[in-house]
């Protein structure tokens, strides 16, 4: 194998490729990149056996071939060489790299030990511009559970309502739902639960092409995303997703309009004290203002007032500041609406004049 390319082309792909490199390193081959040269392309693959990513760049090929190299060394070196012409040449078990003033060589492992990322792509589910759905995905994915003890909740649900696809994620304490993500006819036979990690990786893929295709293989329970020269593959989650429709409140007693930036800053100020009391902050909703407060008996207390337009009852609710911060920093719109029925029922965040999104946060029961 012998190729020549501009290091610039490879550098921007290394960061997301590294996400799939196994961090535990029990199996040495999994901390390697698979390099394959074929038909004018270098394809680099990485997997931790849970997800797999592969991405190609055009290169000048003198000789086709394949090998695996330690991913960390390879990417650390390449991301620091700046933009220059680089040659890779496999000689026996050693991969030699030569740049304008650089020489390096890597010990390699035979490519046969590296697992195949997938056998077949599966059936096409949708072709879409990624930029159209990116914001929608960002609004939802953070709400999924981080631990895998409740498998279904660690995923993002892709469900169909009439002809529109909707996304839901919840960890049991909060729930994000985005409707009207894209239109579908018959393609989505049943709801899919996609690992939230896979969705996050999808967002991190950096490709010039905006065209995203999604493939599902029911046989091997696999979902595959393809954007430009990059392919991301993982497994669908089996298991019942909770009945999210049931918990979405149909009504409210208090509804108030606030500015996202105002609220975000206010909560950040309150976290100073809320940190000490497992992140509890309180929303107090009055006619034309909302007061965000935190109080830690041993450290101190603070309150921030922001302007709000309220209809309905005045009300209050205690909640985890982290959940509110996660939400507010994932939203791309400034005019928000907060609705609630009572201090012990979930609070609902919406985007003003947009019925497609909602976010529920379970309140915290406070003494006294």
């Amino acid at each position: 194998m012998k190729i020549t390319f501009l290091s610039d082309n490879l550098q921007k792909k290394l960061s997301f490729l590294n996400h799939a490199v196994s961090s535990h390193g029990q199996l040495p081959i999994l901390s390697n990149f698979l390099l394959e040269v074929k038909k004018g392309k270098l394809t680099i693959s990485a997997t931790d056996l849970e997800i797999g990513i592969s991405s190609s760049i055009p290169v000048n090929v003198d000789q086709e071939g394949s090998t695996t190299v330690p991913a960390k060394n390879f990417s650390d070196l390449l991301s620091n060489v700046g933009n220059q012409k680089v040659t890779l040449f496999l000689e026996g078990n050693t991969l030699k790299l030569t740049g304008e003033k650089i020489k390096a060589s890597f010990q390699t492992t035979p490519p046969e030990e590296f697992p195949n990322l997938y056998e077949e792509r599966g059936e096409g589910l949708i072709n879409i511009k990624k930029s159209l759905v990116k914001d929608f995905i960002t609004r939802v994915v953070f709400a999924a559970a981080q631990d895998s003890s409740r498998p279904a909740l660690s995923g993002v649900l892709l469900d169909k309502e009439k002809n529109e696809v909707l996304l839901v994620a919840t960890d049991g304490y909060r729930l994000s739902m985005q409707k009207n993500v894209f239109k579908t006819k018959e393609e989505l036979a049943k709801p899919l639960v996609i690992p939230s990690r896979l969705i996050r990786e999808l967002l991190s893929i950096n490709e010039e092409s905006d065209d995203l295709s999604v493939f599902v293989s029911e046989k091997s329970n696999q979902i595959l995303f393809s954007q430009g020269e990059t392919t991301l593959v993982g497994r669908l989650i089996e298991g019942e997703y909770p009945e999210y429709q049931k918990i979405i409140p149909s009504d409210f007693n208090t509804k108030t309009e606030v500015n996202r930036e105002d609220l975000l800053n206010a909560i950040r100020i309150c976290t100073v004290f809320a940190r000490e009391t497992s992140n509890v902050i309180k929303f107090t909703i009055e006619k034309d203002k909302m007061i965000i407060s935190a109080n830690s008996p041993s450290v101190g207390e603070d309150m921030v007032e922001i302007s709000a337009k309220t209809i309905g009852e005045e009300n209050e609710m205690a909640l985890n500041a982290k959940y509110a911060l996660d939400l507010l920093s994932s939203l791309d719109k400034e005019d928000l609406v907060f609705e609630m029925t009572g201090p012990l029922n979930p609070g609902v965040f919406k985007i003003k004049e947009d019925n497609s999104f909602l976010h529920l946060i379970m309140p915290i029961r406070v003494q006294g």
Binding site: P28, L49, Q222, I247
Partner: protein
């Protein structure tokens, strides 16, 4: 399943010797044997990448060990599947947002006047109430379609209210958005009166005619109230037309209801009419055991039988049970048969709390030698006024009915009339203007020798 588990761990023990520790931990640890059919082993592994490696690099090693353990020439098939060993107890926990228990409690609290603990689950069923129980649970599962209206009748303390509230709870829990109203005919009357008084019937109509489920307890009290009956008639028709469920209860079947318009009675009988008889001995025993459990005391079946012999209806049973619990607490907390016997003999006189209002009125009539119809009539002859006031007084003191309820019982009299009557007899007793014999009226034992 256990068989496969043992077989697979046997196979793996051998594989472990042949592969590196890293490979074993990463690739084999999370595999499971799904099935062994003939000579085909189906093995589940968590991802396609793992399967790829197992197939390409370890097939022979696995097969060798599998052949040895199964004594067959095996074939291996791999499927991508994660098998979770940790089984969360009961229903899978999804976190507080999805916490049914919490929600149900809150939810039931939203239904005014309906007790959350009146459910089908904690109702004792036997031959006397089985038909009613089954009809009620059918109605709760298919409101508006099964039997409409459901008319439940029976004497006091047999569980009519329990059944009706169980319907409300069940319908509410299966769909909290269903508009449900549980009311008594007294409240319904008040609504109608209030609407007429303020000349604003549209609000009331809106309230009653948009429901998905209307439950009216003690419907017999609408007797003699023409305007209320008219309103109920129209509400009834609107609701039935819109497919809403109606459930009614009464102390007698529709056909025996007096002073109720014929067209209304025919509507009442248009669905299913079921009766609940007084609980038989076995059911009373079962009710006692359920109630005892609810109060957190242990009661032996023998003890329950003793009590069940004494009281005839559920309220009487609960009264005895509470008394026994209280006496037990003042002692060493044990409920013994001796204790029950002593409490029961004391309590003989106090069975009155479960007295039916009609029986009390009968007794008053017997005492004064008047007829109940006269007592209920609008006539104000002197020989009727005294018995009537005594009846008011006793209904209030002995049964604790509300003034409005007493008014309804005594021919639709205004509650202020009742208040006056009760106060009058009370004062007369204090000044000894009336014989204390009237206090013994409830204890009179009257057969069916008084005409209605």
């Amino acid at each position: 399943m256990q068989e496969y588990k043992d077989l697979w761990s046997g196979i793996l023990t051998e594989v472990e010797l042949d592969v590196s520790r890293a490979n074993f931990l990463t690739l084999f640890k999370r595999t499971r044997l799904v099935s062994l059919e003939g000579d085909v082993l189906t093995i589940a592994a968590p991802s396609t990448m793992i399967i790829d490696l197992l197939q390409r690099r370890f097939y022979d090693i696995i097969k060798k060990s599998a052949d040895k353990h199964t004594k067959k020439n095996t074939k291996l098939i791999f499927v991508p599947k994660t098998i979770v060993d940790i089984v969360v107890e009961g229903k899978e926990k999804h976190g507080p947002l999805f916490d049914d228990g919490e929600r149900t409690k809150v939810a039931v609290g939203h239904l005014p006047r309906v007790r959350a603990d009146f459910t089908f689950e904690n109702m004792a069923v036997s031959a006397t109430n089985q038909l009613a129980f089954v009809s009620a649970s059918t109605v709760a599962k298919k409101p508006g379609t099964a039997y409409n209206p459901l008319f439940i009748y029976g004497p006091v303390g047999v569980g009519k209210t329990h059944l009706m509230q169980a319907i409300a709870n069940e319908v509410y829990n299966s769909n909290p958005e269903n508009k449900i109203l549980y009311t008594t005919s007294e409240e319904f009357t008040n609504e109608v009166v209030e609407a007429i008084r303020t000349n604003n019937t549209s609000n009331m109509k809106k309230k009653f005619r948009n429901l998905g489920l209307l439950i009216i307890d003690d419907i017999q009290f609408i007797a003699g109230k023409e305007r209320v009956q008219e309103e109920l008639f129209h509400t009834f028709n609107t609701l039935v037309d819109s497919g809403a469920q109606i459930v009614l209860s009464s102390d007698r079947p529709p056909t025996e209801m007096k002073q109720v318009e014929k067209r209304l009675i025919s509507r009442f009988s248009g669905g299913l009419t079921v009766d609940i008889a007084s609980p038989d001995f076995e059911l009373r025993t079962a009710i006692l055991l359920i109630k005892a459990k609810k109060h957190g005391v242990s009661l032996s079946i023998e003890s329950a039988k003793l009590i069940a012999q004494k009281a005839q209806d559920a309220r009487g049973l609960e009264g005895y049970l509470l008394k026994i619990m209280t006496s037990a607490q003042s002692g060493d907390g044990e409920i013994t048969e001796e204790l029950i016997a002593s409490v029961l003999s004391l309590g003989k006189e106090e069975k009155l709390n479960s007295f039916h209002p009609d029986e009390l009125i009968k007794n008053v009539c017997y005492f004064y030698k008047v007829k109940p119809t006269q007592l209920r009539s609008a006539k104000r002859d002197a020989f009727l006024v005294r018995p009537r006031q005594v009846a008011m007084f006793l209904l209030k003191k002995e049964l604790g009915l509300t003034f409005v309820e007493i008014g309804n019982l005594l021919g639709g009299r205004d509650h202020t009339t009742i208040m006056h009557g009760v106060e009058k007899v009370d004062n007369m007793l204090k000044k000894s203007l009336i014989s204390e014999d009237i206090l013994g009226i409830p204890k009179l034992i009257v057969g069916n020798n008084v005409d209605y």
